[in-house]
């Protein structure tokens, strides 16, 4: 059964908290259109690598082009759209 976009956002946010070990952050604290980098979450370049690992392991997506990465890893909306279009599992 195909997962809805809203459920996928929820699932991705849960993965994000787990993979990045975001202490004291809940799913509802992460807004869909909030920039992941430079925003309140305080993410940095190591987190971007962790997110690439997340996308690979959970959705079978490999981001190898840095330019592409910069366009995808913007906020939850852009990442979820990319997952829907490119997931292999």
């Amino acid at each position: 059964m195909e997962i809805s976009r809203d459920d996928l956002k929820l699932e991705f946010k849960q993965h994000l908290i787990t993979y990045l070990n975001l202490l004291d952050i809940k799913v509802e604290d992460i807004k869909d259109d909030e920039p992941l980098f430079g925003g309140d979450l305080g993410l940095d370049s190591i987190d971007s690598v962790e997110m690439i690992v997340l996308l690979d392991r959970e959705y079978g997506i490999k981001i190898k082009n840095p330019t592409e990465g910069r366009q995808v890893l913007v906020d939850v909306n852009t990442i979820v759209d990319y997952i829907i279009a490119n997931r292999t599992k």
Binding site: N21, L23, V49, E50, I52, R57
Partner: protein
């Protein structure tokens, strides 16, 4: 070499004043996990979320000292295993993901020098930075390193030295299969009296500010000595030589602080040495507080400093006379033996 301050995160409430006030934390689950403070009070959440337990404990014990002593120029840490949980997680990922994309955090945090490196970054220390990983003599080697650095310094100098060890589930299971730990259930209060095989597993971080001047010192590290795989008679001779080298003899030692682990297979090293060289001396132990781990000798040093400062409210120590000299002896598995000779600060005693 002089000790100015000590700080420990351990299975006792050493981070506050409870341990020194006589509180004893009883552990009855066979593993002595460290009681950790609220790190978010002084470590930014963005850094804390990446830290494994060993790094967290090391920073938690070391950072307050680094902040309090801005003159600290170098950081020297001893750890047998470093961030073991992250290390094994990383190794497992290599297998699980067939050497594909790996998460960087586990790798970065698992290297033994992560503690000294992170302390240097957070304390903005760009001087000497070193980590010793010589198994159960790692802390002894860190101390020897500090001694050499301070003795060759041409000006007053302060260093942070310490030891860190964490319990990893993976390693605990391997060490259990290797008979390191007791098969029966006992508490840490009963540990030292036990004569069966194995000990109780512990963990913790101990940090000390050391200097080459006696100003505001709370104790002096007179000397330290380490030896691997000695014979019993050889060890007795080596200790005599060690004391003689420092202008002392067994009668000059006021208190022996031993690392008895309740392991009937190896505690005879302590008992025999005491009977041979120190038959009429005060003797006490420290692993009832910390459990056994490879760098527990650093926690022994912490306890020795408290005793030299005249603290006899520590649980079970009320009968001890305040010592002027303490010999800390710790060995692991009967193979590697470390001795640290400490003297109280005469000015503070007066």
């Amino acid at each position: 070499m002089y000790i100015k301050e000590v700080c420990a995160i351990s299975p006792q409430l050493t981070y506050g004043t409870e341990f020194e006030s006589g509180h004893f934390e009883l552990h009855d689950k066979g593993i002595l996990y460290a009681i950790e403070p609220s790190y978010l009070d002084f470590i930014p959440a963005s850094l804390l979320r990446r830290m494994g337990k060993a790094v967290r404990m090391g920073i938690g014990a070391g950072l307050p000292l680094v902040k309090k002593y801005p003159g600290i120029e170098g950081i020297i840490i001893g750890t047998a295993n470093g961030g073991l949980e992250d290390c094994i997680r990383f190794l497992n990922q290599i297998v699980d993901y067939k050497e594909g994309v790996l998460t960087p955090t586990s790798f970065v945090q698992s290297t033994p020098n992560a503690v000294a490196g992170q302390l240097a970054l957070m304390g903005e220390k760009t001087g000497y930075n070193s980590t010793h990983t010589n198994g159960s003599l790692a802390f002894d080697n860190a101390m020897l390193d500090a001694q050499l650095v301070l003795e060759t310094a041409v000006k007053p100098m302060e260093l942070l030295i310490g030891a860190v060890e964490e319990i990893s589930d993976y390693n605990y299971n391997i060490d259990t299969l290797n008979s390191h730990y007791k098969s029966e259930s006992i508490t840490n209060e009963e540990l030292i009296r036990s004569t069966t095989a194995g000990s109780l597993c512990g963990e913790g971080a101990t940090m000390c500010v050391v200097a080459n001047t006696a100003d505001h010192a709370i104790a002096e590290v007179v000397d330290q000595f380490q030896v691997c795989f000695p014979g019993k008679e050889e060890l007795t001779g080596l200790i005599n030589n060690f004391l003689d080298k420092n202008g002392m003899s067994p009668k000059d030692i006021d208190l022996l602080l031993f690392g008895n682990s309740g392991d009937g297979r190896t505690d005879h090293w302590y008992n025999d040495l005491q009977q041979e060289l120190f038959p009429d001396k005060q003797i006490t132990t420290f692993k009832q507080f910390s459990g056994d781990y490879r760098t527990a000798g650093a926690f022994g040093c912490y306890v020795a400093v408290k005793l030299l400062q005249g603290n006899h409210r520590i649980y079970g120590f009320d009968h001890l006379r305040r010592p002027r000299t303490v010999l800390v002896y710790n060995q692991f598995g009967g193979e590697r033996h470390g001795f640290i000779l400490l003297r109280g600060n005469q000015a503070s005693i007066a």
